[in-house]
Point group: C2
Chain length 315, copies 2
């Protein structure tokens, strides 16, 4: 477990997901100040926006924080240059080939983590020389793997084949789930949904309200013929689902999705026409809380869980 | 944790799934003899077959064992009569309304457990007076819920709303996953896939071989417009998938499925045209082992996991 806290120089092995439209400087700084690792989500930022967020984050915390960069946008080179110029020391990459930037970043003294959703890419990421991997299960919000492997199955499966520091994501909404992830073989956890709904999240209040209202079965992995993504059900999701039931192909889905749906839903608060990316654990989120309280409750629940299971060994 | 071992009078809180075509008297007796709770899967048995299995199981073990009865077959009344006549003391029901038989069984001194796949039915089962519930996640093999909630999310969600003894199922293929399930709030685990592939399972060798060969992403939850079921991919699954991609409705899927597919695949070993029901953890099963060895390795791994996480509490 020390592996992750030492790697990032943080108190708790709790990493906040670098989510688009939720993870600005305010959230990242709050998580880092609470003893976890905050991540700015660059996936929804223009280069100059990222620069502003980095400067504000540095002013708001003296603790380590990082940036998440999905490797699928044309301006990735530019984002990487900004990160180096602003002295960022931790980068999480996702949605692309980790071989492309890992060496370049590590030469510049950056700790690099890559996000995967299956065993094959976990091994590829380890080979590419990253310092750690995040393995994200089917229950996670947002973009997801085609294999649909859940956190419960994925973590021991990956742990079995590599010693690389391993961060579990997907379904971690309590200290119980955090302890479970550690039992499965993870060295730390990445938490998205809980922080997306926090007071410091840059998500629109309407989206946070939808998270609070979500129950068992309110989210669905959808758009599987395009890029699988987990969304809260809303009129936009219903349209997609209807099209899929009629056999919609990739092009039809791409045209239905159009551009800017995630921004519309998550940042602008259009809960009818927007995409609302969130994990299954939304079902257990009932209140918009400050990050410091979320972290305190999480660690307390974790400690109580460990205390409880200590007596469980069999003779 | 004592709740489950006391309830069934067993050594380890490990219940073998009462799977169709896999769980005959030989498997159930082997699991009970190894300190868990063996279940005969009556779902694939004619009444006279069940009677034979019960007699053989009683001869093969003096430990407690039970029977799993899906409540969707016309001969359920007859199966219930046989169970009482043969002195069975533990019944797991699934796929139906627990109100129908729970009272009748409990009047006859039977411990009753009901299997659910979502929060709503967990609460309904608890209200119906069952002694415990099994909550089965999306990663589980065979029939599954529409909500697609994973074990990681479902167990804490149900634990939060009821104190009833809770058995986690879905994705439990190692002592690590067993410890994780307990951390999530379960009092015990139900294990299917590992035992389906055991030497004592009545499944056909060809099916067991397919389990051993399965990797990450080899199983899929399919037939969602009919009754969702998790299968290993094979030519039959490919046919279903193709039909679904073209927008097949319930009737088309029912006609494609026809009758006897599960028997054909799992019992007769037709891995081309048969249904092969198994969980995602098949990806971690590499060998057909005797039950006693499976149980020994499971408990050793569980103990080592607990030992490891004992030092994880934070100051």
């Amino acid at each position: 477990m020390k592996k992750i806290t030492d790697l990032f120089n943080i108190r708790y092995p709790v990493i906040q997901g670098g989510m688009i439209w939720c993870s600005g400087w305010e959230l990242a700084a709050a998580v880092s100040n609470a003893g976890g690792l905050g991540l700015i989500g660059a996936g929804s930022m223009h280069p100059e926006t990222l620069e502003t967020h980095l400067k504000k984050c540095k002013a708001a915390t003296n603790k380590p924080f990082g940036v998440n960069i999905p490797l699928l946008y044309p301006q990735t080179d530019e984002l990487m240059e900004i990160i180096i110029n602003e002295g960022v020391k931790i980068v999480f990459t996702s949605a692309g080939n980790p071989k492309k930037y890992t060496g370049w970043l590590k030469e510049r003294g950056v700790t690099v983590v890559h996000v995967v959703a299956n065993k094959k890419f976990a091994l590829k990421a380890a080979e590419s020389g990253v310092d750690a991997i995040v393995a994200e299960g089917f229950e996670a919000g947002g973009h997801n793997g085609y294999e649909e492997t859940t956190t419960m199955v994925m973590i021991p499966m990956i742990r079995e084949v590599t010693d690389i520091p391993l961060i579990a994501a997907g379904g971690i909404g309590s200290g119980k789930a955090m302890a479970a992830a550690m039992a499965l073989g993870a060295d730390g956890v990445q938490i998205g949904s809980l922080f997306a709904a926090s007071r410091e999240s840059s998500a629109h209040h309407n989206f946070k309200q939808k998270i609070v209202e979500a129950g068992d079965g309110s989210t669905h992995l959808t758009l599987k013929n395009l890029v699988p993504v987990r969304l809260i059900e809303n009129p936009f999701y219903e349209k997609v689902h209807e099209a899929e039931q009629k056999g919609a192909d990739k092009n039809m889905l791409a045209s239905l999705l159009g551009k800017g749906r995630a921004k519309k839903g998550m940042f602008e608060g259009d809960t009818i026409e927007g995409e609302l990316e969130i994990g299954q654990v939304a079902a257990m989120i009932r209140e918009i809380k400050p990050v410091a309280q979320i972290m305190e409750e999480l660690i307390l629940d974790f400690n109580q869980t460990i205390q409880k299971i200590m007596n469980w060994r069999f003779k």
